[in-house]
C-alpha cells in the first residue's frame, strides 16, 4: 500500500511498550545480578544487558509501529500489521457490536487508551489498537456508532422518555410475575437429586496436602486398625453380625453425607432463584451468600438445551439452559435459566426466546448404528491385547477371563448411547437428543447456525457415513453417523434458510 495512507498509532505507545518490557526484565535481571555478583564488572554487565534488551524492545516495537496502519473506510475498518508476516484485517462496521476503550495506569498518565472493536467473533481477539490518544479513541467510537446508524435504521427505544423528566414509568410499578422461580421446597427436592460425594475428594485432598503433620501414614490400613485398637477394641473379636452392621452403618452415613452435601451446595447456589422477562432480556437472580444478577438479551439466545438425569427423569425434572453469544461472561457459554423444572414450566420460557419446544410428531430418527459399532471395534484391540497378555504371561488363570466382560460392558454402553442419539429437523429448527445417563436435548434455530462442516475419517468413508459439525455461537453441536448423501441434502436445505438472513439481523434486539 502507499505510504501515508491510513492512520498510525500514537508514538507514545512505544513508551508504554518499553515500560511493559521493563516489567518482564525485572526477574531475569535479579537472576543475572545474583549470578554475576562475584564478578568485578558484574554491575557493568547488568546495565549493559538491560540497555541492550531495552534497545531491542524499542527497535522491534518501533519496527512494528512503522508497519502498522489502520484505515477508516466507508464500510469497514482495516487494520494492517506485521513486520514479516503481513496481516490485513477487515472489520465491517455492520459487525461491530461494541467499541471499548481501556486505560491502564501508564497509558492513562500519557493520555492514551487501548481501543478494542468487539464483533462477537468466536475467539475474542478481534481488533485492537494499542495505543491511540483518548480523543482519537472517542472519535473512533463515535464514528463507528454513526456509520452503524447510517446503515441501519435505529431501533425504537424500548422505554420512551417523557418530556416531564419521568423517564421510566415501569420502574415504579410493582415487579411483575417472574417467568420462573423456585421456592424453598423446590430447592430442597432439587438438592436431594444433587447427591454428591465431592466432600470426600476434598477431605482426601486436604489430608494429602497436610500429610506431613498427620501422626500416621494415610495409606497404611494397619495404622487405621491400630487407632481403633488403641481405643480398646479388638477387631478379631467382633462378630460377623456386628461387622455387617458396621458396614451398613458406614454406607448409610456415606449416603447421608452425600445428600447433605448436595442440599448444602444447591441451597448456596440456587436460593431465591428467580427469572424475569424484562424489556432488556432475561434477568436471573439467585444465590444465598453470593447473589448474582445476570441479564441476557433474548435475541442473543443461539440455542436451547434441555437436560435431565437418569433418576430425575422419572419424576419429570429437567433443566433449561440457553446457549448465548456470551458477551457478558466469557467463561460461561450457556446460561441456566431454569435449573429444576417440569416441562410445562420450561416450554413457555423457551417460547420467550423464540424457540419452539419439540412436538411428538417431529419425527426423531436414530443415526446409523455402524458409526457407533466402528468406534467400539476400533477400541477393541486396545482392550483385548492386555487381556491376552495377562492370560499368556501370568498365572492369574481363568479368573482373568472375567476381564473379557469389559468389552461386553463397553458394547452395552455403546448400544445405549446409540439408542438415545436421535435427530430431527423441521422448517425452522434442528433437534438433537443424546445421552442415556443424563439425556440432553439441543434445539437450535436454523438461522443462528454460523457454519456447517461435513467431515469423514477413513473408516467412515468406507461406510459412506459422515459427521456434521454446526458452528453455533457459544456452543457446539456435532452429529455423527449420517449418510453422506443425507448430510449434503440437510446442509443444502439449512444453508438456503441461513443465507436469507444476515447475522446482524438475527442477533439484533
Amino acid at each position: 500500500m502507499a505510504a501515508g495512507e491510513g492512520h498510525r498509532l500514537h508514538r507514545l505507545g512505544l513508551v508504554v511498550n518499553m515500560v511493559g518490557g521493563l516489567r518482564n526484565l525485572i526477574f531475569p535481571l535479579i537472576a543475572i545480578a545474583f549470578g554475576t555478583s562475584t564478578l568485578d564488572f558484574g554491575y557493568l554487565l547488568l546495565v549493559g544487558i538491560a540497555i541492550l534488551f531495552i534497545g531491542f524492545t524499542l527497535f522491534f516495537s518501533w519496527l512494528a509501529w512503522t508497519r502498522f496502519r489502520y484505515i477508516i473506510g466507508v464500510e469497514e475498518i482495516r487494520i494492517e500489521s506485521g513486520i514479516l508476516n503481513r496481516n490485513a484485517r477487515s472489520i465491517p462496521f455492520e459487525r461491530i457490536q461494541d467499541v471499548s476503550i481501556e486505560q491502564k495506569l501508564i497509558p492513562r498518565l500519557l493520555g492514551l487508551g487501548e481501543v478494542k472493536f468487539e464483533t462477537g467473533g468466536g475467539e475474542g481477539d478481534e481488533g485492537t489498537l494499542a495505543y491511540v490518544s483518548t480523543e482519537e479513541g472517542e472519535r473512533l467510537r463515535e464514528l463507528v456508532r454513526d456509520r452503524k446508524e447510517g446503515a441501519v435504521a435505529t431501533p425504537a427505544p424500548e422505554i420512551a422518555n417523557n418530556d416531564d423528566g419521568t423517564a421510566d414509568i415501569r420502574r415504579f410499578e410493582p415487579e411483575a410475575e417472574p417467568l420462573f422461580a423456585m421456592d424453598t421446597q423446590r430447592i430442597f427436592t432439587f438438592g436431594l437429586f444433587e447427591f454428591s460425594l465431592v466432600i470426600f475428594a476434598v477431605l482426601f485432598g486436604v489430608a494429602q496436602q497436610f500429610e506431613f503433620i498427620l501422626p500416621f501414614n494415610l495409606y497404611d490400613i494397619g495404622a487405621w486398625i491400630g487407632i481403633v485398637e488403641d481405643s480398646g477394641i479388638d477387631i478379631d473379636a467382633i462378630s460377623w453380625g456386628a461387622r455387617i452392621f458396621g458396614a451398613m452403618a458406614a454406607l448409610a452415613s456415606l449416603i447421608a453425607i452425600g445428600i447433605a452435601t448436595g442440599l448444602l451446595r444447591t441451597f448456596l447456589r440456587e436460593y431465591g432463584f428467580r427469572l424475569d422477562r424484562t424489556p432488556k432480556g432475561f434477568r436471573r437472580r439467585r444465590g444465598l451468600t453470593t447473589l448474582t444478577d445476570v441479564v441476557m438479551p433474548a435475541h442473543r439466545v443461539q440455542a436451547a438445551i434441555v437436560q435431565t438425569g437418569f433418576f430425575r427423569r422419572r419424576w419429570g425434572w429437567h433443566a433449561l439452559k440457553f446457549v448465548s453469544l456470551a458477551q457478558d461472561s466469557k467463561e460461561e457459554g450457556s446460561h441456566v435459566v431454569a435449573p429444576f423444572a417440569q416441562r410445562p414450566e420450561i416450554d413457555p420460557i423457551m417460547k420467550e426466546a423464540a424457540i419452539t419446544p419439540e412436538t411428538l410428531d417431529i419425527g426423531f430418527r436414530r443415526l446409523d448404528w455402524r458409526w457407533w459399532f466402528d468406534q467400539w471395534a476400533l477400541l477393541l484391540p486396545f482392550a483385548l491385547l492386555p487381556i491376552v497378555g495377562l492370560l499368556i504371561f501370568t498365572d492369574v488363570g481363568a479368573r482373568a477371563a472375567l476381564i473379557l466382560l469389559l468389552p461386553v460392558i463397553a458394547a452395552l454402553f455403546v448400544w445405549l448411547s446409540w439408542r438415545h442419539c436421535k435427530k430431527a429437523l423441521d422448517e425452522n429448527q434442528l433437534y438433537f437428543r443424546e445421552g442415556w445417563w443424563s439425556p440432553k436435548l439441543t434445539i437450535a434455530p436454523q438461522v443462528k447456525i454460523q457454519s456447517i462442516e461435513i467431515s469423514q475419517g477413513p473408516i467412515a468413508r468406507l461406510r459412506g457415513l459422515a459427521e456434521m459439525e454446526f458452528g453455533i455461537a457459544g456452543g457446539a453441536l456435532s452429529i455423527g453417523g449420517i449418510p453422506v448423501g443425507e448430510a449434503n441434502a440437510i446442509r443444502q436445505r439449512l444453508l438456503d434458510e441461513i443465507v436469507k438472513v444476515d447475522f446482524a439481523d438475527v442477533n439484533r434486539g
Binding site: 468466536g122 448423501g485 447475522f503
Partner: protein, 206 residues
Amino acid sequence: MTDCAGFTPTAPLAIEEMDVNYKGFGAINCLVSAIQQRHISNMDEATETEELTRLHPDHVKVTRIVASLFMLVLIIPAIIAETAAYLNQESGPPNGVFIIPVLLIAAFFVLFMPWRRYIHRGFHMSADRIRIVRGYLFRSDTIVPFGRIQHIDVDQGPIQRRYDLATLTVHTAGNHNSTVSLPGLLHEDAIAMREEIRAHIKRDAI
C-alpha cells in the same frame, strides 16, 4: 466428470494431476482411484454439484519450502551423526544408517504430503457462501455463509510473498469453525474475494 460431483469433486482433478505430473506414483494412483471409485458409489444422493477451484500451483512450492525448513531440524543432526559414524569406522564408504531413513522421512513430508494436500484441497465461492474442502484420509467440507462472517483476514508470510500468494481467513461467531482459512490464493485474488464478501455483508444489512 459430473458423476463424481458431490462430496469429493476434487477426486477427478486429483487423478488427472497425477497422470500428468506424477507418473512415479502409479501404485498410489491405482489405490486412490480404487478407494474413490468405491466412495463415489455412495455418492448418488449428493447434492453439491458445483466445481471446486484449485489453489494456485505455487502453493505446493510454499508448503514444500516450509516443510523443508522444519525438516532441517532432523537432517542437520543426521548429517552430523553420519559424519561422526563415518570418521569412526575403519574402512568403506559411509553406510547411511542415519541419513537414509531421515531423507526418506523428509521426502515424505516435503515432496509427498504438500502435493497430496494440494490435490485434495479446493474451494468454491458462490454468490452468498464460501465452501472449503480439504483432507484426504480425514476429510472436511465446510461452508460458511457470507451473512455469518464476522471479519476477514488476508495474511501474507515471507515465503508466500515471494510467490505473491496470501491466506484468506474468515471468522465466524461459532465456537466450532470460528476461523476458516484458505491459503494459497494469489494475493490480488484474496483481496478481491475479501472485497466481495465485505460488500455482501454490507448489502445484506441494508
